[in-house]
């Protein structure tokens, strides 16, 4: 158990900066998920914590000790790899106990720990099998078991679920959460899947281009993204971004989308955005769930408009509809009973109480 401190860490490959000086403090027992697109530096960061990559600049401390020059085995960490990296010639038991055996733990201590981990992960009856004889989900459990028996200060997960099918992924996600609730080990988890990030994390850290865009609880990130990138990365289907102009029209602050459509900003938000009016183009960020079919009675701040649906995707509990605004395809979520049809018009409603306004140039949420 320990906290992890990352201070101004930089990673340079030849001349390419993969990580551009990040700061991150991970508290004891915390489950932190690093999420971001391919090449954003999240895996590199994880591997630097593990000691599998050099740190070009800055420092990483685990449990208060700077570990920059400490080899992986002495960092007291355990890692679960994307492809599990189980030793194919060893049984499950041998796989899990390999690290302990190398450290010359007494035999009964090893067995006690392996049995305990196997019980937690429900793989007791698999202990004598070889990895080849296991399914993907079982291998995943063994890989976690190997990490658990070490009883390390920090767990590191490198996209551990990306090789599993969708159903198993959900199941293992819950499993990982349970294990963390039991063991309470500080965990750093890397994934590209924002759903995984949201569901698992105490704190989600969104990375992009080698820097941290924003860190916070899943709800913070979802409701108060600080940048366009975070707004777009968190939530599925992704947030819509509609280019528009912030204008004063007849004493009211409006979002002018095109000649025919201007959305009035709710009075509650007007004060917040007033100072930005006229500063060129902005983006209206609106999540699909705030673009719904218009009911007869509109709440304050909700604006109705006509949309020509291009594609509809019935999901059962809701129907996703896609329609163009200013040439951008925009996604909304409507009631299945609203009668949305491909190619048909539909009265839509935008809930501007939930809007985000983004400066198109800087990408910052205003």
């Amino acid at each position: 158990m320990a906290e992890v401190h990352i201070r101004k860490v930089v990673k340079k490959y030849d001349e390419v900066l993969a990580v551009r000086g990040i700061d991150l403090d991970i508290r004891d027992h915390e489950f932190v998920v690093l999420v971001g697109p391919s090449g954003c530096g999240k895996t590199t960061t994880l591997r630097m914590i593990a000691g599998l990559e050099d740190i070009t600049d800055g420092e990483i401390a685990i449990g208060g000790d700077v570990v920059n020059d400490v080899p992986p085995k002495d960092r007291d960490i355990a890692m679960v790899f994307q492809n599990y990296a189980l030793y194919p010639h060893m049984t499950v038991h041998e796989n899990m106990s390999f690290g302990l055996r190398l450290k010359k733990f007494p035999k009964d201590e090893i067995n006690r720990r392996v049995d305990e981990a196997a019980r937690i992960l429900d793989i007791t009856e698999l202990l004598d099998r070889k990895p080849k004889q296991l399914s993907g989900g079982q291998r995943q459990r063994v890989a976690m078991g190997r990490a658990i028996v070490r009883n390390p200060k920090v767990f590191l997960f490198d996209e551990p679920l990306s090789n599993l099918d969708a159903k198993l992924r959900v199941q293992m996600r819950i499993e990982i959460k349970k294990v963390h609730q039991k063991a309470r080990t500080t965990t750093v988890y890397v994934t590209h899947d924002q759903v995984e990030a949201m569901t698992l994390a105490d704190r989600v850290v969104v990375m992009n281009n080698g820097i941290i865009e924003q860190g916070g609880t899943p709800n913070e990130l979802y409701h108060h993204p600080k940048t366009r990138f975070v707004a777009g990365a968190i939530g599925s289907p992704a947030m819509n971004f509609i280019p528009c102009k912030l204008q004063d029209e007849g004493g009211q602050l409006k979002l002018r989308i095109n000649d025919g459509l201007a959305l009035p900003i709710p009075p509650a938000r007007a004060g917040q955005y007033g100072q930005h009016k006229g500063n060129g183009s902005v983006l209206l960020g609106l999540r699909p769930e705030h673009l719904t079919d218009a009911r007869s009675q509109l709440d304050p701040g909700v604006v109705a408009f006509d949309a020509n649906l291009e594609v509809t995707e019935p999901m059962g509990m809701e129907t996703l509809v896609y329609f163009p605004i200013n040439g951008e395809t925009v996604c909304g979520r409507v009631n299945p009973a609203a009668g949305a049809k491909d190619g048909a018009p539909l009265k839509m409603a935008a809930d501007l109480n939930q809007m985000h306004l983004i400066d198109a140039k800087s990408g910052l949420v205003l």
């Binding site: 030849d14 971001g36 895996t43 990559e53 992986p72 590209h192 599925s236």
Partner: protein, 310 residues
């Protein structure tokens, strides 16, 4: 949507060069060097050095006391036997490789054709000539070609064909040497081609069938292009090995009749070791270098190419 753009960046990280693992490696590069040192020494002392030493030896006179420049080579150029050896070596290697390749190709297809549970058995049986040490199996051929007790001639006699002077006649002797070489080497081609055939995805054949390709078109447009790499590299390997062959000719004919079946290796042995003229023997063996170099360059090119693809 987000998922689609956020592919694993692990691959990217791995693609880049250095890692702390490698820093540990660098620190341990001395260990790595020590681990390869025996290999380096072995190659340097017993392969590279002798190869250059051969060039040096080739420029000495018979007693190896005097530098004579190219006169060993000039001497060889004037000898009829030398040109015969050049000729015979080329004929031997080219013919043998062609037949090995053809027979290997046919047999590989035959084995590939039959139900897969019988394939292992047939494959195992057909590779036997390759497994027996060549010196031993060539002895069996020597006995089969025996001038007075040839078991082939016995059969020929039954069916009314006059006995063949297998190793007594120059042309028959050359034929025999090639035959034995084909016998030993064809199974190797068969195994390589079979491995290549197995690596062609079944879907390609199914796609070709649906596209209406007949047997020949399937062969021409699917099988052979997919196997091209292995066909080429096997043939190159085999050319090198066949060109430098020693065992078969040495055991079967020792170069007889009248030195007419010698190849470079056996003649170099005759001249250099048995005849005691080491410089001349070295000169003879050096004539293998051009062919070997050409073969090596092609193989290397293929390997570098595949290395880049990987």
């Amino acid at each position: 949507m987000v998922d689609a753009t956020m592919k694993s960046d692990a691959a990217v990280a791995r693609g880049r060069q250095s890692s702390s693992l490698q820093r540990t490696f660098q620190r341990k590069s001395t260990i790595a060097f020590l681990m390869t040192l025996p290999l380096i020494l072995l190659i340097a002392v017993l392969v590279i050095y002798p190869a250059f030493y051969a060039v040096h030896l080739a420029t000495l006179n018979k007693t190896m006391e005097r530098y004579v420049g190219f006169s060993n080579f000039l001497f060889l150029f004037k000898r009829e036997t030398f040109w015969m050896v050049v000729w015979q070596s080329c004929i031997f290697a080219i013919t043998a490789v062609i037949f090995k390749a053809i027979i290997g190709f046919i047999v590989a297809h035959l084995v590939h054709n039959i139900p897969s549970k019988g394939q292992r058995k047939w494959r195992g049986m057909l590779l036997i000539p390759w497994v027996i040490p060549p010196a031993m199996s060539t002895l069996a051929w020597l006995w089969l070609f025996d001038p007075s007790y040839s078991a082939f001639n016995w059969i020929f006699e039954r069916v009314g064909i006059s006995p063949i002077p297998w190793l007594g006649d120059v042309y028959w002797a050359r034929f025999c040497v090639i035959l034995v070489n084909v016998w030993i080497g064809a199974p190797f081609f068969m195994i390589m081609y079979l491995a290549a055939l197995k690596s062609v995805p079944e879907q390609l054949y199914e796609a070709a069938k649906i596209d209406g390709a007949n047997w020949w078109q399937t062969m021409r447009f699917v099988t052979i292009p997919m196997m091209r790499n292995i066909i080429a590299i096997t043939a190159l390997f085999s050319t090198i090995v066949t060109f430098a062959n020693f065992d078969i000719v040495r055991v079967l004919t020792r170069g007889d009749p009248l030195d007419q079946t010698h190849v470079f290796a056996t003649w170099a042995f005759r001249v250099g070791i048995e005849g005691g003229d080491i410089p001349l023997g070295a000169s003879v063996s050096l004539f293998m270098v051009p062919i070997l170099t050409i073969g090596a360059i092609f193989i290397l090119r293929d390997i570098v190419k595949r290395g880049n693809e990987a």
